[in-house]
Structure formats: structure tokens, C-alpha cells
Symmetry: C2
Subunit: 310 residues, 2 copies
């Protein structure tokens, strides 16, 4: 196979620009960038932005299409890229919970990426680091219950929100909710539960999330309480996480330390003094634009491209 022909759709957004940077760093040469008509003609990472029209995406000259656009744009455009023969790796929530569409974190369920029928979904930026930390603990002791309180950077809501935070007087910095509500929880909270259940293939795992936006530009953090089926000490959990793929154990994970790294930082691992049995609590941080989004999508692409080479 020749150099893979990669397209980044939504290449001018917060995740798209990181994807272009990572692709360049990883040595991909045949990269094109698409965005809305408004951005067509702009130069980004040395590439001229093309308009993401159905015809352009269906032209048959793309091997992997990395979509970092909104959910409705993904619903509209992804099928055209697939029709043109590309494998679409979609960052939006459009396809994540669709039966038959693999929802993939390479370190957790990478094999599923190869079962695609043209589309692989990239999970929510909180779900990815969470499952990286949970999966090895599940394999060791079986997950019983999970509670998670998030500290999410504004870049998770897009580049415009980053600009808004940069302009905001510090006195107005706040902690809050900017997701839609689905019944008694936020859309983000139900996403984290449903996606983590699908990725780990634990459809009945009880998960309760409390999602919160904080005035940080880049890097999500999460407080996580876990109950396991079998006893697992904090020391054992730390040992397991030290050899877990994609995870780096540190004393105190912070978004700033995680920023621009490929790793999920996990630390503050200790016994949960409130648990009846087998409880652990930990804190994690991850660059929501890198491992939480663009890097995870590229890793999925690489799994698929590696298979295509065989």
C-alpha cells in the first residue's frame, strides 16, 4: 500500500488542528484538510483548506477520513466519505452508540476497530481516559460500580470557547454546566455511562457521572470512585496501572501536566474510606484534544491501516 491518503474534516477546529499537527509529527505526507465553505482557501499547518462537500468526500481518493465536526455535520457528511471508499473515524456523538459501529479506544478494545463497516466512532473526551484507567482494573478484579466527577476544559466545547475564556475577566471565571439536559442528568453524563459500557462490553456496569466545566483551556481531569468485585488494594491497583497501555502513574495528575502529552495521567490512588468493600478512589488527567480526541482517532486509523498492509 502506498502512503495512506488521509483527510481531516473540520481541520480548523480545536481538535482538527491538533490532528493535523499530530499527523505531521507522525510522518504522514498525504494529508488533506477540509472544512466549511467559510474556511475554504485558508492555510492551516501548510495545507490549503478545501470545502467539505459531499462530492469532494465521495471522490474516491481518501483512505481514512478523520471527522472532527459537529454531530449534525457528521450525520450529513460521513456517509459520503464512506460511499467514496474511505474509512470514516468520527469524533462526534452521531455514531457512537449505533449498533454495528465500533466505538474504540485502542488500548481498551482496539480489536473492535477492525470490525468496522466503513465507520469507527471515537468516544467522548472523558470516556477515553476513564476507560484507559478502568479496563486494566476490571481485568484484575472486575468492576462493580463507578462514580466520576469531571473537571473539563473549555476546549472540549470548541475553539470559540477557548477564545471566550481568553477574553473573560478572571473575576468571571466559573465552574458550571454547558451541556444539554437529558432528563435528570446532562447529555455528557449519559454519554460517559453509555460509551464506557459499550467500550468495555459491560452493558450493565453501574456508572454515575457528574460532569463539570472548569475555566481551564486544555486538559480534562476526573475524580473516580471504583468498587471492584474482588479485593484490590491501592498498591495493587497502582502496580496494574503502571503497566497499563496509555497510562502514566504520577503522584498528582493535573491538566497542565497532561497537556500535549499522549498519556492518561493517573494518581492519588487510594482506598475509598466510604466503600463497604473493595473501594478505590483515584484522580486522572488527560489532554482532551490529544488522547481525548485527535490522537485516539489517529491511533484507530493506524490500527486499520496496519491491517490493510497485511
Amino acid at each position: 500500500m502506498a502512503d495512506p491518503r488521509i483527510a481531516v474534516i473540520g481541520g480548523t477546529g480545536a481538535v482538527g488542528t491538533v490532528a493535523l499537527r499530530l499527523l505531521r509529527k507522525r510522518g504522514y505526507d498525504d494529508v488533506r484538510v477540509f472544512a466549511s465553505a467559510r474556511s475554504a482557501g485558508r492555510i492551516i499547518e501548510g495545507l490549503t483548506v478545501e470545502e467539505a462537500t459531499p462530492d469532494a468526500l465521495a471522490a474516491g481518493d481518501i483512505d481514512v477520513a478523520l471527522f472532527s465536526v459537529g454531530t449534525s455535520a457528521s450525520r450529513e457528511l460521513v456517509p459520503h466519505a464512506v460511499r467514496g471508499g474511505a474509512v470514516a473515524i468520527d469524533k462526534s456523538s452521531a455514531y457512537r452508540l449505533v449498533d454495528g459501529v465500533p466505538l474504540v479506544v485502542p488500548e481498551v478494545n482496539g480489536d473492535r476497530a477492525l470490525e468496522h463497516d466503513g465507520i469507527v466512532a471515537n468516544p467522548n473526551c472523558c470516556t477515553i481516559p476513564l476507560t484507559c484507567a478502568l479496563k486494566p482494573l476490571h481485568e484484575a478484579a472486575g468492576l462493580g460500580r463507578v462514580r466520576v466527577s469531571t473537571y473539563q476544559a473549555v476546549s472540549g466545547a470548541g475553539a470559540q470557547r477557548m477564545d471566550a475564556l481568553r477574553r473573560e475577566p478572571v473575576d468571571e471565571h466559573n465552574v458550571g454546566v454547558d451541556w444539554s439536559w437529558e432528563g435528570d442528568e446532562t447529555e455528557e453524563e449519559s454519554k460517559i455511562r453509555a460509551e464506557a459500557q459499550k467500550i468495555m462490553e459491560l452493558p450493565d456496569l453501574p456508572i454515575s457521572a457528574n460532569t463539570v466545566r472548569v475555566p481551564v483551556l486544555v486538559g480534562h481531569a476526573e475524580s473516580v470512585w471504583i468498587e471492584t468485585e474482588e479485593p484490590l488494594s491501592a498498591a495493587q491497583a497502582e502496580e496494574i496501572l503502571r503497566s497499563a497501555p496509555g497510562v502514566q502513574v504520577v503522584d498528582t495528575p493535573t491538566p497542565r501536566d497532561a497537556a500535549q502529552t499522549d498519556q492518561v495521567l493517573v494518581g492519588r490512588i487510594r482506598e475509598d474510606r466510604a466503600a463497604e468493600r473493595n473501594g478505590l478512589v483515584l484522580f486522572l488527567a488527560c489532554d482532551n484534544l490529544v488522547k481525548g480526541a485527535a490522537l485516539n482517532a489517529i491511533q484507530i486509523a493506524e490500527l486499520i491501516l496496519a491491517r490493510a498492509l497485511v
Copy 2:
């Protein structure tokens, strides 16, 4: 009794200045302000700062001494104020867990304030709003377990940290830990547990806290998971909290909305989908300098002054 003679010690700090403002707003006229020698002579809220020497505090002309100084300064100075006949209400952690010293949140255990022997301790700024929300739920259904993840404003670490955040480029804003460690948890985490147990008189209540500093100037927030002994629906919990003293139920509590109010905002009350039974999750926010500190101390003073009038 004549107008109570009130002294604010540490009146130039983040909490002390709020105490002076609240005292003025509540109509107290006989207020003096003390601070370190460095600040003596400064004018604050129209008052000339006096040096907080042992002799000045022991002179016998203070009825209530509100201490908002560090733990070691409290250990040194509080006994002198008590020796001079004042009731000392101390914001530091010096006396909070000392046997015989009441640790008081007026809405939760106000009666205990009257049992003082010269000193009443004012709890940690996270413990105060937490117990305001927990106590009425405990009375209704019995608390079984509590897990809390905090979002703490930098003003909880003092006025200098507020200035530092104001100067910090937004790109450096972070989420992290700035407390000392006590074994496998932060000092703040063990304070929240021990203080909530003491205030609610539930010495064995299992509490697990994950304390986190966020780049917000004023206002602490907390994600709280609760398990109750008896069943308690989210609707019942909300009803109970609507009539709880010091609590205001809102859809989405935020630090900004709580700032400069006297209330603990509680919302996002829902069933905990991860609990085996009787689980609730909620979110709260509170002005850490007002109800979380200065107001709570003044409310304690008022309980004691009201008793002195009888």
C-alpha cells in the same frame, strides 16, 4: 447588654475583610480590627488596623474575637483573647478537633455553640456547606456513606493566591492540589471527614473526599454522592432541602451564583445510578469567604450574643 464589642483578628486577609463588610452590613458599630505589625496603621473598611499583640487582645475590652489568621497564629493568640474575657471564634484548624471545643455550623448544630469554654471553632470552608446539605437528609433518612469531589476557589488559600490568579496567564490555569499530604490523602480531605463527623455527631460516618483547587477566585463547589439508610427519592430530598435552613435549591449551582450570597446553593439532585440502594447525587456551591467562613463565624457570634442577652 450594650453594643457588643467585636474584634476581627486578621482583618486584612481574604476572610477578615469579608467579616468586616458583613459586620457593617449587619449594623455592628463597635468593631475593631487587628492584624500583624506589618499592617498596623492601615485603614480598612474605615477602621484603623491595630497590632494583634497578646496584651491588646487580653485587655478585657472585647466581647467576641473573630480570628481569621493562620493555624499557628491562632494557637498563639486565641488564649490571650480568652484570658481577657472574650469568646474567641476561630476560623483556623487549630481547635476544630479539640475535645470540648464546639465546632459549629449554626444551621446544623447551633446549640453546641453555647457549650463553649471560651473558644468556638469555625469549620473548614468545604465542611460548612456540605453539612448544611447533609444534615437535613440525615434527619430524614439516615446517612450511610458520603463521597465528595470538590471544586475549590483560590481565595480559600488566601488573598495572595487571589492576586496570583489575577496575574496568571489563562494558558497556565490549572486544576490541582495545593494542600499538604497526610498519608494517602490531603490534609483537606481528612479535615472534611473528621469535621463533618464531629459537627453531625456521626463519628463513624464513612466519608471519602477528593479535594481539588480550580482557577476560580471565589466560591467552592462540590459533587456529592450520598447513600442513606432508608430510601429517599431525589424528589423527597429536594423537598427536604427546599425547607432546610441556609440552603437554596436551584437547578444548577455555580460558584458565581453563590458569590456574595449567604446561601448554600444545592441542585442537580438525582438518583445515583451507581448505588446498590438509596443513592443520591447532588451538586452544591457556596461563597467560601461568606457562608464558608466569615458569615458562619458571625452567625456563631450572634448565637452566643443572643444567649448573653437572655
